[in-house]
Symmetry: C2
Subunit: 243 residues, 2 copies
DNA sequence: CGCTAGATTGATAAAGGTCAATCATTGTGG
DNA sequence: CCACAATGATTGACCTTTATCAATCTAGCG
């Protein structure tokens, strides 16, 4: 990560309960809200990480550049995207707190990562992290669970994208965010309509029409462009899961 | 896996070079064809696995059933799918040799898995595998690389699905298979058109029209319904990567 | 040799993409 | 504090593309 002139990156000291990983493990016990990492594992990770604070819209790394770091998000939203030759942009993932990102392929980053909101990140040197994981089977297993979890989420997103109707795609996206917010019906959409469109494989006009449609039907209600409430959860669920 | 009357499953002894895992690791050296696992790692895995042979169209496990095994494919093609409430079926992945599948979520399988062709599988007891991985950081790291690799592939598929045009989606699918076959321009499509449609989020009619279109344009040539050759790789590449 | 599941082809209608104009919001400088 | 610029969002008209429904065809297989 380049450090620009006006210092968008600040190094901070580690904090209680961080870094965290969110995942549904292979085997029970369930506890969706239970932290995946133990306290001592968090401390072990914190000891080899740098905790940094980054401003909104900051580039974290670029596609195809040499990968030196792996990140765990502690606070804020980050987007990972790929710019296609045509000029079209694909947002492949939004990273929320307790998400890992920056896993390289053959020493290079696969996507470009950029903050959406301001964010707090734990940055790991990739070699140090790999060595730490190899020498601690229990800790590495947590990472294995996490990546598997993200694989399943990616496949779920594929299903969402495969839907033909824009309203359905948007509903699935909102549903993801709802779960992210711990099931609250008040949901924050920090990203732009254009980012949502790039994520859902829609034109931004379609996203706009879809939000409008949900609002008109009385399913959701917007307060400004980035805050919404699901006012008819039953109807919402029906739209979300209708395939 | 239920063992039916006419014995679709046969237990065999391990074979040289198996089980294998295919993945591009985090860091170089590259070598796409290089095996991820060392000989001794393969032997270690073979020692805790059962090698089974299964007939075409055999159900391996069902969605939401208790997960007891993890599988590594050694030979043949397996599909993983989910049946939606509407009756629509989503094929989320085709598993080829050196692919892992059956990674559970909270003790339950996430998809249904079924052989497309006849297949040879290495079956692991999930508890035994987890213990083995936890106690061998190097081996577990190979699995971490593999799952990360599959995560990236899943995201690439999402991009493919996001394309609007049927011909483009099909081209990306054929491109995947081409890479799977080690870059040969002669490609085997063992799955049905209907499976391809479910995988690409298209109607099977659209898949049919798309194959027809590619053939008419002289980009590919079919020999029967399950064998094709890319006769114009330049044109093919153009269609595949046009976004 | 006919039967059956899978595949192809055709006609129609629905849905989103695209282009273009307008509106809203945020941030900036006077 | 306000006016204005600039970016982002919305709306409308039109067009392209695919899903759907229906009929027909083909390849395996008993």
């Amino acid at each position: 990560m380049a450090v620009p002139k006006h210092r968008v990156e600040k190094v901070l000291s580690p904090t209680e309960g961080e870094p965290a990983l969110q995942a549904t493990p292979f085997l029970p016990p369930i506890r969706h809200d239970a932290p995946l990492l133990t306290n001592s594992q968090r401390m072990k990770l914190a000891a080899i990480a740098t905790r940094v604070h980054v401003a909104p819209r900051t580039l974290i790394y670029k596609e195809d550049s040499p990968a030196t770091s792996v990140f765990i998000n502690a606070e804020g939203v980050v987007k990972a995207y790929k710019d296609m030759p045509s000029g079209r942009r694909w947002v492949t993932a939004f990273l929320y707190p307790a998400d890992v990102f920056g896993l390289a392929e053959n020493g290079l980053y696969v996507r470009t990562a950029q903050t959406v909101t301001q964010a707090t990140l734990y940055r790991f040197n990739i070699d140090v992290l790999i060595e730490t994981l190899k020498s601690d089977g229990e800790l590495q297993f947590k990472f294995l669970c996490k990546v598997t979890h993200e694989l399943r989420e990616a496949q779920r997103q594929t299903i969402a994208i495969g839907r033909r109707d824009a309203v359905g795609r948007l509903a699935m996206f909102i549903g993801q965010l709802e779960r992210q917010h711990g099931g609250s019906h008040d949901i924050d959409l920090p990203m732009s309509r254009s980012d949502i469109a790039s994520y859902l494989g829609l034109s931004l006009e379609s996203v706009s029409r879809a939000t409008r449609s949900l609002e008109k039907r009385g399913v959701v209600r917007f307060s400004g462009r980035h805050l919404l409430r699901i006012v008819d959860p039953v109807q919402f669920e029906k739209i979300e899961s209708r395939l």
